[in-house]
Assembly symmetry: D2
């Protein structure tokens, strides 16, 4: 008898544990067998009965969402957008009360009345074990639908706010990624690498295992095997001027200690965390850790791509552009149309010097003078590093002759340098005036015709002032 | 030369690392040496420069707060209350716009305008390593000041909302506490135990180490050595009717497997997390884990205190009370005034039966009939377990003859039983009607005169309906 | 001043820590710079000064051995063989004293006098951090030299005895290998797999990651990233008759739980641990763990190769063999000479049945009747499993059509079954009489002409008695 | 049907797993229920069937030994002593063969014939999970019986040899003990502390938790919660001259970094590992680790007890002693008989100077001149540190006024100093000539009359030569 009871007890428990959870669900939620709809479950979760069976409902709902078709998920997002809204009458009442008599109390009531129930909804959804990762995945799905359905933007705004709170830097854990890391994480590194593709496990090993290579990632405790962002670092003896010197296996023969930490790839991993910035925290933490562990390091630089340079060059060359390009330079640049130009440039064929000079000049203009509509540099990667307080250190000709490198940037790569003595100053100048910190070498590559007025009178300035007011605030999430 | 640079570089870094952080702080924040004020730092943190030096400012501010006097901290809380408010003009504008034309967009603007900057403030404060624990500690300090300064309640409301988000159950980790647990955590268990005091390490060992004793706690990844809540469990062969049978060292001689898991102590640990409920999740998780690991378990009960019973008895006996007490019972209860009554009752002295009958009758009334202003049971612990779906299983006479047990409850303890087959039903009935689930045995102890009308006509009901409408929602945080 | 001292102190320490250790070495050990010879260091290690500087000497010696040429290492082994011997005069004296008066004391002296100083030598060598792995590597080198230099066998015997003591099963740790395992270990699994080659990381993942695949390995605490032996297991619904059904990705569509654990690959990893048996312990431990974790399992079998079957068939077919083969079978078997036989057999071409019958008959003879010189089964893998108490359950035709499978066993694979109810009986019968436990099905495949006398009179026996006395003792280390 | 089989299968397995193991044992081992005798099991373990059921037999035997009475265990030890011996006839044959023709082969046969079967017995016993700790415990029991039964010494010799192999330094793991250490280990620290008693958990915390206190222990992977030896360290600003300055809670007010690591307690934990030395390895490892982690450390010293000083003083004062003591000193020393002498000395009562001078003079003699029969220093602790290469740095008057400190050493404690620059030299001099390295200060406290001849002629020597030949070899295991 007791046996029977226990079996039933255990089975019920197991039903719950086995993530089916229906044993714990209010019976009313189920029509036909398995017929609980996503919307019914969503309403149940919000109903307030949640405390007793909330975990089970949340789990059940997440399971249904995982099995759902794209169309069903879209319906779910629309339900969130349309139905999980503050009660308009309550908002209106509270707004009127506040206008009548602004006070702590009427403000609190207004905040409460206008508080989005979606925040509470996702908070309850997160009760289930493993929910956080699934919520992040939901958002990456949601983002894809926004273009076609603007009303979903409000759902996304709530979700971004919630995830910003949950993924606060204080909750992130920095972990070194190396050859002792579980394969389940390493395969994510291969998959998420967004800058210089990792070609399988041998290539991965070459980037992680040698004692002069490092990789670090931020993790969140609730996303066990999922890196949020990672950076790959090479410990070298000088600032590299081409990606090949970082990625190939060659090393100096002697054992002299490394002096230069080169950040050559930073990749964000989670589309569902779009808009939440980790990169600046990651870089600073890694700089601190490396400086402590490798006493010989003196220099911290990147070797970064220039993702929109080629597109910008096209526009600059187009008629109507206000980018000043001399006829000679224009002539030299026309070689770029010949796909063989790289080969020939590598052989230093006639005309190479001219092409290099023209292209580097344009590059200097691209970084130092050109601005997008928001009066900030055109280049996403530049915005990220300059916003962090780095300075543009060097332009590297023919640094990435890969198909992607040529297509995006005519082979150009650049170094940004993190010099602790000027990080704060650079950041402030960039944030308030849009000033781009750049080395004298880079500034000297700017063609005279392009120099903004007055520049020649302040030859010792390290940084170029922007042409106007940059908006302050968080740099957008970008990738080097 | 390079050496010199590096030394300076490393020193600056170390300054930052060593949590002094001033090297990274905008110079303007400092007047005289060490003279950066809490308010100046707080404004700097909110200023938006935060991205470059936010971590350092947050760390510096937390350090200053730790060193601050109680008065200085109060000033800080007042600064938060007064200065970190939404801009009233913006709120008013947005309120008017919404009233003029309620839409997704005007709602979003209203939400944004009325959004409390304190939430952002604490989010930035949490950038610093170890900040979460310090913020929780700040709140436990803040709570103490609210009584004397009502304006701080708004700060607390923001903080509670934020901590509710951060300490979502999905982020909590259940860990077993046993004799393999680090001493740094064990001493917290001794310190935080709130129900049956732990008298030193030997007493602790008796509760953790034997194979028929368990202890589980919830932890948050950002509060490394700090349990949030923990429960102590005894695996027994029957439902115990006195705390001594749980706490003393005696055991049955044979090796028969345990059938009954007894939750005899649940303690919340962090005053700074007041109002954020973990107990129901903890109990459910532990029931699941125990049922899986100890196959012989069939029954899950508590042995719980009745913290406000004695106080309620006093009021019931006072003139003007509407609790019906017969003259004979009143006579029997008068013995409680004699401090020796326990001794005599233990010896079964004349009059003991009468006292027991009277007291148990009152206890049944206390649980089944009496209600507080919110129309829920008077007893905090009862609210917690009944709200979780448990049923009141047994009243135990002379179950806790300790000084505290006598003072608070005339020695009474009770068992609540978690029976999976009825948890959901009990919870729903309690949430919607205030119905108290109770065993027939408990109901039969209710004196006839006290029974609500109609009760005798439904002898098979397991639960007593409440006398009115209970408010639905989360049970208050309570301790057994 | 103090500063100076400390710098020097720290430098000396670092010198030691940096595994150069010369600072701690007796000066006499060094002639010219770096000129400490392996022999000089070896003598120093044995000299008894060892207690003060033993760790440093051991580390230095191991470093030198790592850098040594093959010839230098051979010299080192010869030094061990020739010079690290018991003193012959002492041995002779002790032998005489024992013969004069055998007693506890004279025996103890004889043991001491004849005790090999090499055991003490390796014990001291193992003082250095990381030494154990290097000693194991040394032995795998030593073993290669034995063939050409018999005197080294004595060194190997000592080393085997020592490693047998160090790698006692009580010190081994069983760890599951899965997709959470560090890459540094996984690449060893790929490298060491000796039965069915693992073709890269994707293939590895298919063997480790699915929830119906398992892999377990023994580790020794002193060999951190080095598995000693590992077994790959498939959880299936029936005993497989071909390796393809294990290795390909297909699965049953429904979710019915697995009933059969199939051990399809066991690989020893360390040549330096040759002769030290782990396989039987590993299998038993894994059977226990799986039976506990996967409640639906009822059957534990292998799918094993038959590594010397093809070679034995060649001998059986040769003139002078005493294996009875009918003319028809001989005719059928001649098809094996045509490399296309597999293809045709797969298509069930004419003659396939005859070939199968002949080959299976020979296989039954190979396992049940044929014996090697030591009167045990010819097959190494069979010796291992039969010695462990398994029974030969089934012969599988065309089970491994890989190049290796055809070359070694004409495609034959077999299942051994571990049936707890008869493990002990099978083991004892095998150990004492050489009896081969086999299923009735296998026995029935034995051609009548080949059956040993009297067999037909005991049709119910599960096992065939051997033809004579098997030597008892540890089965040799073998691989399935 | 399959169900039934599985239940039985699982039950059998569980029987084995539950360490009862009888299901796997050869039936012949059991007479009546539970009646398997220790001797029968021991013989079964040695019988060679061991491979199939060895683990189960070993576990069963260990269980029986744990339940056995002291008398039964003694019988077991006698069985090992008497029955598990090499076969005398085989030994005699092999001895004769060796004498006839000494060669590698005859030597190997002699080694094999005289090899103690007890080594193999314990190797097999160690197959069971957790066996190593139980074998160590067995030896601590065995050691107690040796005095009364000399034949057991041979068993102990085998066991010591085996444990020396198993507990090789290469297998030990150094772990820091602090407030994060599991309570199960910390309570062992309290229990095993052998020098300055730890009075409960608060006292323990004072020794482990402050940032200027350290504790390190060696562990063996097979003895999970059992430290083998541990050392307590105080990081101070000068070499302490009394134990109170180490143990009390007072600290300097400023934050100046520590310069001096003081080893004030080393305790061996396992009686069963008697004779196996860990102390020297522990000290060296800890010195290395501390020097690396705490850059400000310049000095490594002990504050050590002098355990047999008082006993030696009694003998020195007795008639017939050859220790030269002047009449005045003898008079001063007579005060020691008055129990109040310490109090008075603390108050600097008249006569204190004379007493101090006399006692310190004797102490210098005790360390520098007195020798035991083996021509080494009388003091066990001195032997340990001097053998490790330390030098006697200072004699501390009234350094330990505890009851034990007065009883054993009239309050005397000493500092030994580990100076890397002279460790090797000191060790060699001590090992070969018995020379005691001592500071000039200590040497100057030697009374002129006691100085060995010629000493005055070599005032610059740091060390006193011994009076004869010390035996070289491992210092005995001693405790400071």
């Amino acid at each position: 008898m007791a046996e029977r009871v226990n079996v039933s007890f255990f089975q019920e428990l197991m039903a719950a544990v086995a993530e089916q959870g229906r044993a714990l669900l209010p019976k009313a939620l189920f029509g036909e067998a398995g017929g609980e709809s996503i919307e019914v479950l969503s309403r149940a979760l919000m109903s307030g009965r949640g405390e007793a069976s909330g975990v089970a409902i949340a789990r059940q709902l997440l399971n249904q969402l995982k099995k759902a078709t794209s169309e069903e998920r879209l319906q779910f997002f629309r339900f969130l957008a349309d139905d999980l809204q503050p009660n308009p009458a309550h908002v209106a009442d509270a707004a009127r009360a506040y206008l009548d008599y602004p006070s702590d109390k009427t403000l609190a009531k207004l905040q409460k009345a206008s508080y989005s129930p979606r925040l509470e909804f996702f908070r309850r959804l997160n009760l289930a074990a493993g929910a956080t990762a699934e919520i992040v995945a939901l958002r990456s799905d949601l983002v894809r639908h926004i273009k076609s359905d603007e009303a979903l933007a409000a759902v996304d705004a709530d979700l971004e706010r919630l995830l910003t709170s949950w993924f606060n830097r204080g909750f992130l854990v920095l972990r070194r990624i190396d050859w002792q890391t579980p394969a389940a994480i390493l395969e994510k590194i291969i998959e998420y690498e967004a800058v210089h593709e990792i070609r399988g496990w041998d290539d991965l090993r070459r980037r992680l295992d040698p004692k002069d290579r490092r990789c670090f990632a931020f993790f969140h405790p609730a996303l066990v095997d999922e890196p949020l962002i990672f950076v790959e670092v090479a410990l070298m003896r000088e600032m590299p001027d081409a990606i090949a010197t970082v990625l190939d296996g060659r090393r100096p023969e002697d054992d002299a200690p490394p002096t230069t930490a080169v950040f050559y790839s930073i990749s964000n991993c989670q589309d569902g965390l779009k808009g939440i910035s980790f990169g600046n925290f990651l870089l600073k933490q890694v700089v601190e850790d490396l400086a402590r562990d490798v006493a010989s390091l003196r220099t911290f630089v990147t070797l970064s791509p220039v993702p929109s340079f080629a597109r910008w060059v096209d526009r600059a060359l187009a008629s109507g552009s206000d980018v000043p390009i001399s006829a000679a330079d224009r002539q030299a640049l026309s070689r770029l149309r010949d796909p063989r130009w790289v080969e020939e440039a590598a052989k230093d064929a006639p005309g190479t010097d001219e092409l290099k000079s023209a292209l580097m000049g344009l590059a200097a203009h691209y970084f130092l003078v050109a601005r997008s509509n928001d009066d900030r540099p055109v280049d996403q990667v530049a915005r990220f590093h300059l916003g962090n307080g780095a300075r543009l250190e060097r332009l590297n000709w023919l640094a990435d002759p890969s198909e992607k490198g040529l297509r995006e940037a005519h082979g150009l790569m650049v170094n940004y340098r993190y010099d602790l003595a000027e990080i704060e100053r650079n950041h402030e100048a960039y944030a308030y005036d849009g000033t781009v910190a750049a080395s004298r070498a880079v500034r000297s590559q700017l063609k005279p015709v392009a120099k903004p007025k007055g520049l020649s009178t302040m030859p010792d300035l390290l940084a170029l002032p922007g042409t106007g007011k940059a908006k302050k605030g968080r740099p957008e999430e970008t990738k080097p």
